[in-house]
């Protein structure tokens, strides 16, 4: 494979009609001639786990905030000895990442004692710091919730005069938007306060297990560490409780109503509505996707989604099925797995080290498992709602045709648009934005539509000999194997098999259903095998229906893998080409124990 390499970001052929795509992003985000020699010298992989679709200008905010925050902790806070941050770019709307190693051995050496001191503090005080983290994140959310965006008034209120405030609504709306952005960045700072350290501790236990038991399945290690009760499963738990409540109250017929509004109308005044209102905040701040795209639907804003799931659960209860997760059994199984592997170790020293490392991994893991709900689901839902409030203001001022057009404006351009709006309001004339933005947004939509048609290469540039960067492997599931797979994909010698991570055990055969966006999950029929670019935690309720899952993207610890294991579905993740190779209705065989997907037809 010495000669084989991925296309250069500067040579790869883009989609027709995407000219000008670079202008949709912060000037530092696209690949550019200014940094060409560096950008061509490294290996880039596409992050389809978090950003499978082209980014709209505002949605790129999450991408930049997330990756910069991740990097900052590696580089500046904990001084991870061999790793600086992850560098990031956009090409035709798609996210490409490259890990930045520390290459000088002397520098790595020098970082070690500093890392031990800094990371050591966190590991020593983990539970206390984590409690504080939960409080911090809730305060942050409350701060974001307190922000409201309203159209500028015809005239300022009398109090502004009588209280001698000396400033007006135009300043406030600009301040509030800047404040929302600051809080969003702070959110991502918090997100990575623990995550990399958590993964490092997990990796350490993982490495120990692999050395003691070279053939141990990855998922056995995950099983020993994973929590039984996890906040990420809580939304689904709440659905089940609401389904039970409906049956208990005998109001299950209400769910046959044709719309969510009608269901609520029928249930108005019943205790079920109280239960719903109690559950929905925060638990239904739950995205149908990964939480990074404005177009992903959020349960609380689209109640037809959770209501549909509740209706399914009601049907199951009626059919006599037990919809509860068997917590006791899950705990007992976890204890059994731990005890058996421990007993297979051959020395007391190893058993002691095993217990210590497992103990730390379990201490850090609640963060790893739970942060996703707090950050990507709950907090992002709040920010998207606030952005839509702002979008609504722009619609009323004639800047935008529809609320969601706000996500086609870059985050810093919004300051300019607010200035334009404020300035015209202040002067008492017309803003330019009412002409400029509808035209510009139409152009941007055309560009992004063109980008959507592009099949983005999984990687760019020179492939590394061996992938050793710990976070690349852990967070993105990029390994030497997956790179070889991508390189070999064009050879056409696949023989009908796809390979990926053995993410959740078991074997299933059935017709495939290719689901390219969360909106399509309703198309799934019982017994079908879900084939998707990725799956989101909020798809959990459909897992009772399908017989297996296959994804293009994701590693062992991807959210998709965790949820599939939880629901006992055979799953193969990170196959790279499932959605492009497998067609709707094709019979496939999914072996979640070996990571193989076989096309049978």
């Amino acid at each position: 494979m010495a000669e084989r390499r991925f296309p250069s970001p500067f040579e790869v052929e883009g989609p027709a009609g995407a000219e000008g795509w670079e202008e949709l992003y912060t000037y530092s985000l696209p690949f550019s001639e200014d940094r060409r020699s560096y950008e061509e010298s490294v290996f880039w992989f596409q992050d389809g786990i978090h950003w499978p679709d082209p980014l709209t200008p505002w949605d790129a905010t999450w991408y930049e905030y997330a990756i910069a925050s991740l990097s900052q902790y590696n580089t500046r806070h904990y001084l991870i000895p061999p790793a600086l941050g992850i560098d990031y770019r956009v090409l035709y709307g798609y996210a490409y990442l490259t890990p930045v190693p520390v290459t000088d051995p002397a520098e790595i050496e020098a970082r070690v004692p500093q890392f031990m001191e800094r990371a050591g503090f966190y590991f020593m005080n983990w539970n206390d710091l984590y409690d504080r983290w939960v409080a911090k994140i809730k305060d942050l959310i409350a701060e974001m919730e307190a922000i409201t965006f309203e159209p500028l008034p015809e005239k300022e209120e009398m109090e502004v005069i009588t209280e001698g405030r000396g400033m007006g609504s135009g300043l406030k709306i600009q301040e509030d938007y800047r404040n929302l952005l600051n809080l969003a960045l702070k959110l991502w700072q918090y997100h990575f306060e623990f995550l990399n350290l958590g993964y490092a501790a997990y990796l350490d236990f993982f490495g120990f297990c692999k050395e003691a038991f070279p053939n141990i399945p990855d998922l056995a290690i995950a099983k020993m560490v994973a929590g039984v009760e996890v906040d990420l499963f809580r939304p689904d738990e709440e659905l089940k409780k609401l389904a039970e409540k409906a049956v208990e109250l005998g109001v299950e017929d209400a769910f046959d109503a044709p719309s969510a509004a009608e269901v609520f109308a029928r249930l108005e005044g019943t205790p079920w509505m109280d239960a719903w209102n109690e559950a929905k905040y925060p638990w239904f701040n739950f995205s149908t996707g990964g939480g990074f795209y404005h177009q992903d639907k959020i349960w609380i804003d689209h109640p037809e989604i959770p209501l549909g799931y509740i209706k399914n659960y009601i049907a199951k209860i009626k059919a006599g099925e037990d919809i509860h997760r068997p917590l006791e059994e899950l705990r007992a199984e976890r204890d059994r797995v731990v005890a058996e592997y421990e007993a297979l170790l051959e020395t007391d020293e190893d058993r002691e080290a095993f217990q210590q490392k497992l103990g730390l991994a379990r201490t850090v893991f609640p963060y790893v498992e739970n942060h996703n709900f707090y950050v990507e689901h709950w907090s992002h839902s709040v920010v998207f709602r606030k952005m839509r409030e702002l979008g609504n203001v722009f619609v009323k001022e004639g800047f935008l045709e529809s609320v969601d057009d706000v996500f086609y404006i870059k985050r810093d351009e919004i300051n300019e648009a607010l200035w334009d709006m404020y300035s015209a309001w202040a002067v008492g004339t017309s803003p330019r934005g009412t002409e400029y933005w509808p035209r510009e947004i139409a152009r941007r939509k055309r560009i992004l539509d063109a980008c959507k048609q592009w099949s983005a290469p999984p990687a760019l540039g020179e492939p590394p000999e061996v992938v050793t960067e710990p976070f690349t492997i852990m967070l993105w599931g990029i390994t030497s194997d997956s790179i070889n797979m991508w390189l070999g994909a064009g050879d056409g010698d696949g023989g009908g098999d796809l390979n990926g991570f053995a993410a959740s055990p078991g074997v299933a055969e059935g017709p495939a259903r290719v689901i390219l966006s969360p909106d399509q999950i309703g198309e799934l029929q019982p017994g079908e095998i879900l084939v998707a670019p990725i799956t989101a935690p909020s798809w959990a309720p459909v897992f009772g229906k399908i017989s297996a899952a296959v994804t293009d993207i994701g590693g062992m610890m991807s959210h998709a893998a965790i949820v599939c294991r939880e629901y006992g579905l055979p799953a193969v993740t990170g196959t790279a080409f499932a959605t492009t190779t497998i067609r709707n209705g094709t019979r496939i065989r999914v072996d979640g124990s070996t990571g193989t997907v076989t096309i049978l037809d």
Partner: protein, 367 residues
């Protein structure tokens, strides 16, 4: 009423004196959920019916009294004579009926008429010089039909009077008349597939794995190395199949029409087909794990999938021996002495060698 028959799966520890060592060990394996082929013991009470025959007792006693122990020919002659006496005497009707009835039941369990069985003596303590000696002499394989089984039992009984057994009892002062023996009647395995299994990975000593070698037909093909078997690796805790290698299997040992095991070519359509399905792989692995637990150390077992037994209970254990290669090596050590948790994390970050890539594992493991 005397109980002439005890099924292996009804065995209890207190039955050992009635059924002898061989049957007791089969009963123990079944009790430990180690499925040996089904069968039953013809108990010592059945043998004891011989003593009811006064004429037989008289003739045997007289013949034994006349032996010149210093004359090997005399010993041989007497042995042949006594054995013939025992083999030609009319067996107790109750015993015959019990054997026939039990054999019939075994045929029904296996779903085939005249199921082939192995008939073996099962010595009670001290009656015979050593088990292996006894075992070699008194095993009748591929016995079919109730009459043949009854005859084989009788031949086993007579084997208490081989020349060596007689002289052994003379030397050790055992009474020829109080000795007794039980007989094991056990279904012959008719393997669809067979092979061996180790309760560790023989290539790297990984104790968390069970390695299975498997090929079509009788296990001889695998044991003798005449085929490259399919190879499966199964995780011992989760029973996940962690690796599978399917090899072309050119030959197999099968049973021909005359009940003889012979080598045959594997038809083209089965050569590359896996010789075990996933359920069978896991069933073999579970059995191997139970054998390891039963014996308290890694085991090297021989197993077969018996085509005559109902699906789900067709995996049988043929033999279990202690594993000897890795078990003799010093224990694997993973923890580095004096290394704290944080040191461990640092070295993991510096060399995350055990993440996914095996080649990196070996290259980087010295860091």
């Amino acid at each position: 009423m005397r109980e002439f028959i005890l099924w292996f799966d009804e065995y209890h520890e207190s039955d050992k004196p009635r059924v002898g060592g061989k049957c007791a060990s089969l009963g123990e394996l079944i009790a430990a959920e180690l499925p040996v082929p089904p069968g039953f013991a013809v108990t010592v009470e059945a043998y004891d019916t011989l003593r009811d025959d006064g004429d037989l007792r008289f003739k045997v006693r007289r013949a034994l009294a006349e032996i010149d122990l210093d004359d090997p020919d005399s010993l041989e002659r007497t042995s042949r004579y006594v054995r013939k006496l025992i083999e030609s005497v009319e067996m107790d009707h109750g015993v015959v009926a019990a054997i026939r009835e039990s054999y019939q039941r075994l045929c029904e369990t296996c779903g085939i008429g005249d199921v082939p069985v192995a008939v073996r003596s099962s010595a009670t303590a001290e009656d015979l010089p050593d088990a292996s000696f006894a075992g070699q002499q008194d095993t009748f394989l591929w016995v079919r039909g109730a009459d043949a089984v009854v005859r084989a039992v009788q031949k086993c009984w007579s084997s208490l009077f081989t020349a060596r057994a007689i002289s052994y009892r003379h030397e050790t002062g055992h009474d020829h008349e109080v000795i007794s023996m039980a007989v094991a009647v056990q279904k012959m395995v008719h393997p669809k597939a067979a092979g061996v299994a180790f309760t560790l990975n023989p290539t790297d000593g990984d104790r968390s794995q069970i390695a299975i070698d498997s090929s079509w037909g009788f296990g001889e093909a695998v044991v003798s190395g005449e085929v490259t078997p399919d190879n499966f690796l199964v995780d011992k805790v989760l029973f996940e199949i962690t690796k599978r290698t399917i090899s072309p299997k050119a030959i197999e040992y099968v049973l021909n029409g005359s009940g003889i095991v012979e080598k045959a070519e594997v038809p083209a359509d089965r050569r590359l087909a896996p010789s075990l399905d996933d359920h069978e792989i896991v069933a073999v692995a579970k059995m191997a794990k139970r054998a390891e637990r039963h014996y308290g150390r890694p085991q090297d077992i021989e197993w077969a999938i018996d085509r005559d037994l109902p699906q789900g209970s067709d995996v049988v254990l043929l033999q279990s021996r202690p594993e000897t290669v890795w078990s003799r090596k010093p224990p694997r050590r993973v923890a580095r002495p004096g290394q704290g948790l944080l040191d461990g994390i640092v070295s993991t970050l510096l060399s995350p060698v055990h993440t996914r890539d095996r080649s990196a594992t070996t290259e980087g493991s010295d860091m």
